[in-house]
């Protein structure tokens, strides 16, 4: 079970979180024209890297905040966690 540092609550067990996918995907702006290709990329296309991956988790059984987690998909090592408003380098 992973041990995830919520930027609001501190280190908590994975049980308290739910996974939310790639955090680097940006939704096209509302009310703006978007090409089919850009839209399809947003909805469907995801990378599945072996190694570092910045992803979203929600602290559902805690503060309910969505957070960013930089995790190694092979080893599960977590390098950094951040608020969604913060950057992960």
């Amino acid at each position: 079970m992973l041990y995830i540092k919520c930027p609001y609550c501190g280190l908590r067990a994975q049980k308290e979180f739910s996974y939310g996918g790639d955090a680097t995907v940006k939704r096209p702006n509302i009310n703006e024209e978007v090409s089919s290709e850009d839209w399809d990329n947003f909805v469907y296309m995801r990378k599945s890297p072996r190694g570092k991956h910045i992803e979203l988790w929600q602290h559902i059984a805690g503060c309910r905040q969505w957070i960013k987690v930089q995790r190694d998909t092979a080893t599960h090592e977590i390098f950094q966690t951040a608020k969604v408003t913060e950057e992960i380098r």
């Binding site: 079970m1 992973l2 041990y3 067990a13 739910s18 939310g20 939704r27 096209p28 509302i30 009310n31 978007v34 089919s36 839209w39 947003f42 909805v43 469907y44 979203l56 929600q58 559902i60 309910r64 905040q65 969505w66 080893t75 599960h76 977590i78 969604v84 408003t85």
Partner: protein, 998 residues
Amino acid sequence: MSQPFRLNKEGLINRKKKISFTFNGKKLFGYEGDTIASALIANGIHLVGRSFKYHRPRGFFGAGVEEPNAKLQVEFNGHSEPNVNATEMELVEGLSATSQNCWPSVNFDIGAINNFLKMFFPAGFYYKTFMWPKSFWYKIYEPFIRKAAGLGVASIEKDKERYEHKFEYCDLLVTGSGPSGLASAYAAAKNGAKVILAEDKPRFGGTLLTDDVSIDNLSGKDWAEKIITELKSMPNVTVKNRSQVFGYYDHNMLVMFERVSDHLEKKSKFTPRQRLWYIRAKETILSTGSIERPIVFGNNDTPGIFLSAAAKEYMKVYGVLVGKKPLIFTNNDSAYETALEFKKNNVEPIILDTREEHSSELIDEAKSKGIDIRFSHGVIVANGYKKVKSAKIGKLNKDKNSFEKIETVDCDCICVSGFWTPSVHLASQSGNKLKYEEKIDAFIPDKKKQHETSVGAANGSFTLEESLKHGFENGSNLSAKITETKTEISIPNVNEKKYGAHDKFWCMPLPKNENPKRFVDFQNDVSVSDIEIALREGYRSIEHVKRYTTLGMATDQGRTSNLNGLQLVSNIENKIVPEVGHTTFRPPFTPITIGTIVGREVGMEYMPTRKTPMHEWHEKNNAVFVDAGAWKRPRYYKQGSETLFEASKREAKNVRENVGICDVTTLGKIDIKGPDAAEFLNRVYTNAWMKLPVGKARYGLMLREDGIVMDDGTTTRISENHYHMTTTTAQAANVLSHLEYYLQIVWPELNVNVVSTTEQWAGAAIAGPKSRDMLSKLYPELDVSNDALPFMGYKEAEFFGVPSRIFRISFSGELAYEINVKSDHGMFMWEKMMEVGKEFGNQPYGTEALSTLRIEMGHVAGPELDGRTIPSDVSLNGLVSKKKDFIGKNSLGREAFNVESRQKIVGLIPIDRKSSIPEGSHIVQDQNAKLPNPKLGHVSSSCWSVENNNPFSLAIMKDGKNMIGKKFFVVSPLKNKSIEVEVISSHYVDPEGKRVRS
């Protein structure tokens, strides 16, 4: 009754307390502190089971977790447990143990015929024999394999015991209380660290209990006791015996299995049987020690053959002799300690040492005591079927592959030592890639991936001095980093015997024309020849050899067989062992009970039960409940001997004719507040929300970004910047997360807050043509006329003195209202409604009637919104705005969503107007068509239409409305039904929606 193999004084057992038990029906006794194994050996019993494949007689081999053979069916404290390790299970009064894998008895086992047919049971036997013909699988092969593979018998009784889970955090977890573990725990504790010390066995001390050593002038055992006593007195230390750390998981989480009370004669009602500990440790010391490995020789599985250290442990811990005429067969010095222990107890051993004559401290001591030592010797084959009677021994030539002399010697036990294998399971589980240590012919931990440090024998250090030093240093350094305190500890003086070098010898050759079985893996019956066959047949990867031969795949995880197996492969392949590599270690290290894994999450505690505030009323009024997620909802209220069908029909009919009330508390409710709430809803829902006036509700549809319908429900504008959203019961949690996602990540600029209020409100729907009459009685002061409170209207008013919200919304398609009061007033509201509703013929209705009402109205719900449908598939395209953007809008233009023949919602009625249509049935053109019969759609929801008094179903069907008027078949192979149906509109009752507006 005497115990022929019990020593008079030796041992740590409590001779004051006799314990009686039975083995295969025979009454026996042992002492408190015995294991089943030690008590049986004391009684001279060695034959305890039959082997897995060949049903060969098997006895004890080890004295702890390493035991591959002695797995028993044990009954105690009112339950029956299979595959209990006799070398680990402590004796308790009244325990009854029986042998497994034998029939009719362990002494005469019919399956033993396999032993004489062993040429037909080679490696890969299961793969080869049971492949063809395929039709034999179910009736012949599978039952045979199941029967043959059977170890013990799982109980079919309900487990009455209590199991618990515990979560714990610590600075340092120490796994094993041998010298290095004790030293680590002690040093860390002195630095103020929060320490957990776990010991698998009942007694602390590990090898200190059996080795002839002294520390600071105390015997090993006394020193261990002193340290443990001090550790127990420290508030920052938790010391646990009978606790096996069996798994090393991500982020330094380890899982421990504690045997809390199986050894107790009496325990309180609330004492759990076993406990599972989830321990998050900042640092972990792996002081798991090492396990002796055997030397492979002919018939080496005969009862009476032991690991040499186990024989010593039986003497020193249990006061039991494994035999009175021992042969000690070794390639190293440690077995000499066993020989000396025998000698001390007036038993004359013979030592067969594969090494050439030489001298060391232990050899010299054995010589001086007059022990018969034969160098360059080994056991070729053990004689005796159910017990060792003699052994053919041989003097090895210099090449160690042939014999100078062969003779037979009498013996009643053989104690074998092929040197030591560090227990690296936990290190390997943690991700540590092991490395091969030539010096000890075994793997030890290498580069760490997690916060683990192996010390002592687990790290390949086999001297006490080194183990202690290693333990103190690592315990101190690792904890000092955490506590920032360093207490100096002087490393104690150690007195131990110096061992000479071991012989890199692991398998006895066979003389020409002799071919006894030489087992590598006892538990899975894998012999040298099986591995040879696998290699001959082309298996190369050690992982493949393992699976083909089943080497190391039994419940003992190959503790005594892995390295010998690797040696064999490397010899044949002419590779060195590190090139062959090792197989992967996986948790659990030892088998643990299912009960422990499950813990308290059984029965009612399997998941939380959510009850509405009116639950007790439903219970008292014969509600039959149905699970809706964690919620319990009344499915119907049973009157007399009514069936579900009869009751739901009655309830639904009453709604259509009079009025009914339904508990709708379980609907998801989300409070939405903020100046941008309208804009937010406008983006979340497919329809327009900017112009909804205060005091009005609107039905809304939300999509996922891929255009699929996510949920539907009504949202009411309570005040300027305050909305009340409802969701379906099932999607409540997902919708909240969905809204939070958009507010926190996608549109943080919107000033909106959302919070779940599902449990804050109790809800009741009042539905039926008489609902307005009833409402006016419930709110005598309020104008509830169609003008004052129209369809989709909203009002706040007092309900007999308590605040309430009135929504004029309808799921049943009838004139209907929904009343919400605070949860605490839910029961009051419900009882008042029942009281006031009497004169209107009001009856409560459950989810089944609710479904009937919505299905015949053509209202979609979960079965239609199944994660595959877009709004136009379910006739909701009228709710999709063309003018504004919303979540998922861009996806609706996708080609596949807009083809004419797409599956869409329709209604179905059976031609005979009688046959009910099973949900999930497939729609086909021709019921007799050749398989696979082309599927045109499926039945999503079915009911008995109370309005038309015949069955009616909703279906999602190819070409949708274009099919109206045509006839098809619905087939349900599951229910063996085929029914001819006609396609009609999905709106079977009141298609214009007049009633809700009346």
